[in-house]
Symmetry: C2
């Protein structure tokens, strides 16, 4: 795959080539690591945004409206919808995808759902790799949307440059998010369905929570934040203060504010050096993932591990030998025989 | 921990000791692998049942009623509720636990929730280990209940001797389950909320699906199954035919039938040799899991992998070297230097 050509070529050809490449990577077909290695030097141009939050918060609609907004500014956009849920929820996700058809006929918009195959760890790793493919293929924006269950919320924040946490009034989500540690990971808060009662209260709750987290005095925060509420956080400065944006995604209200807040966050990341740090960490995580996968392959295919397991499994079944003792013995043999 | 004493000691002491041991294993505190190795030779007495199905199918109520049923027969029961979902659903799960308090004051009933910490893969491995602890501690029955999202449904079938799939009428679950491959993993089907319209239809749908799966003629199945519908599957014989049981868990109706079907399944497993095969596979999976964990620890702590990663990460960040090339280089060094 010629990434130079892809980046300058016609959108339709790009979409087709990217779709093929994603399938190769998802299924780990021969050559997928070479493909990703070739993509690597083109990675870094895309602005990656994670959209997370509980089910029903309106993430899909928000995603769709952000796509529309950026397309209106002439930017190419890729959307990855990550679904770590059971096949039982397949119907719900499919519904979201169909709703997103409003933007999916546009050739400069690439939409892909990624579902669990095998393990969730595998899904996160695959999603990271697909992000890199889309980045290398020249998409200006990559939106990573989660369906809002599983560990995906936490994983997505590690994939994105900026993460928006979408909450809705009167669902108790604020408190759940607070408990979960997700609050700390959000760069922008979106209070969606802001036409409902309680939106202002939720926004204020978030702002207060943030103040408590930073250890500021209660009185001080309220005074400081009251002004900016629903519009934007503090710009510049040493520390990023995640703004709370009120939106009604179904009508498009507040969408330009979310887009602007995300841009401000990326500008702050660039200026503060945080972007370099985050991307550096991301590459370290990626390398460890690839290494673990390679080590596991080596262990199964090129060492005597499986042979030893087969030979001594009867002893484990009978209770004479524990899996822990057998694993330790296999590891010792593998370590000893590694120099081949 | 003295498993001999635990198995014959008073219930309260057992519950306390088991709770401590579980915490040690969940948090992988020093000595946890020795503890599990010591437990290993006492493993194998418990009958392990997985309860799976979509959210809202009534799994918790069914679990509670099964506990009550077995307690009524004088058996000790342990329940593990596996929750791989986001913190957002914490409230729902908590509600289920509170409802289960009807049986939780009984000292011969041990109830434990296991939530995701870090990775889902880690949760499955921990749950398998906790099952072994409970088995070694002498509980006669272990119920593993999932909250019905994520990969937990598939994982749980690998942990249990028998798996009950709980579905409810008129939710489209039948079709989803069929698509998901879960149908094939169920040993007993439970159509819960059988007082609702559509229960008989769902039961028939499942039976037809099963027939199709086995490649039988459509006409033949209907004739054969119509008789047994809602009561039991075929007993004995070379192949297990998963029965469809109608229940109304809230009233307790059908619970003894589910318990009986699970017992028949275990009897069939024992007679056919399938139990030995399943448990053998389980020990192989366990040993590979432990080995992978040990290898990862070895890689991070005892080899130069992390040092090499640190030294060359700048090249990855700048795009000169891809994570795939760096990982391959590190693996080569590790393999070469393993004999230390």
């Amino acid at each position: 795959m010629d990434f130079e050509v892809l980046r300058s070529g016609p959108p339709a050809a790009r979409a087709a080539a990217v779709a093929r490449a994603i399938s190769q990577v998802e299924n780990q077909r021969p050559g997928f690591e070479q493909l990703l290695a070739a993509a690597h030097r083109y990675v870094g141009g895309a602005r990656r945004v994670g959209i997370t939050g509980p089910p029903g918060a309106g993430k899909s609609t928000l995603t769709q409206e952000l796509v529309r907004h950026w397309r209106g500014q002439g930017e190419s956009v890729a959307v990855i919808a990550v679904d770590p849920t059971s096949p039982f929820s397949g119907g719900a996700l499919l519904g979201d995808r169909i709703r997103m058809e409003g933007v999916s006929l546009d050739r400069e918009v690439f939409i892909r759902s990624m579902a669990t195959r095998g393990s969730l760890g595998g899904l996160a790793a695959s999603t990271r790799e697909v992000c890199d493919l889309l980045d290398a293929a020249g998409f200006a924006r990559i939106l990573i949307e989660t369906v809002g269950v599983g560990q995906s919320e936490l994983a997505v924040t590690g994939m994105a440059d900026s993460t928006a946490l979408v909450l809705v009034p009167e669902s108790g989500d604020g408190i759940q998010a607070l408990k979960s540690g997700l609050m700390e990971l959000a760069d922008v808060y979106v209070v969606n369905k802001a036409d409902r009662p309680g939106a202002q209260n939720l926004a204020r709750e978030i702002e207060i929570t943030q103040g408590i987290r930073r250890g500021e005095a209660f009185r001080g925060i309220r005074a400081h934040h009251g002004r900016a509420l629903g519009q934007s956080g503090r710009e510049g400065g040493a520390e990023w203060q995640a703004p709370v944006i009120l939106t009604t995604a179904t009508s498009g209200a507040g969408i330009p504010d979310v887009a602007a807040a995300l841009d401000r966050h990326l500008d702050w990341m660039t200026a503060s050096g945080e972007l370099v740090t985050r991307r550096r960490n991301r590459f370290a995580v990626r390398t460890r993932e690839v290494l673990d996968r390679m080590v596991q392959h080596w262990l199964r295919e090129e060492t005597r591990a499986e042979e030893l397991l087969r030979d001594r499994l009867d002893e484990v079944v009978s209770g004479r030998l524990s899996p822990y003792e057998l694993a330790a013995e296999i590891l010792a043999v593998v370590k000893d025989g590694a120099r081949v």
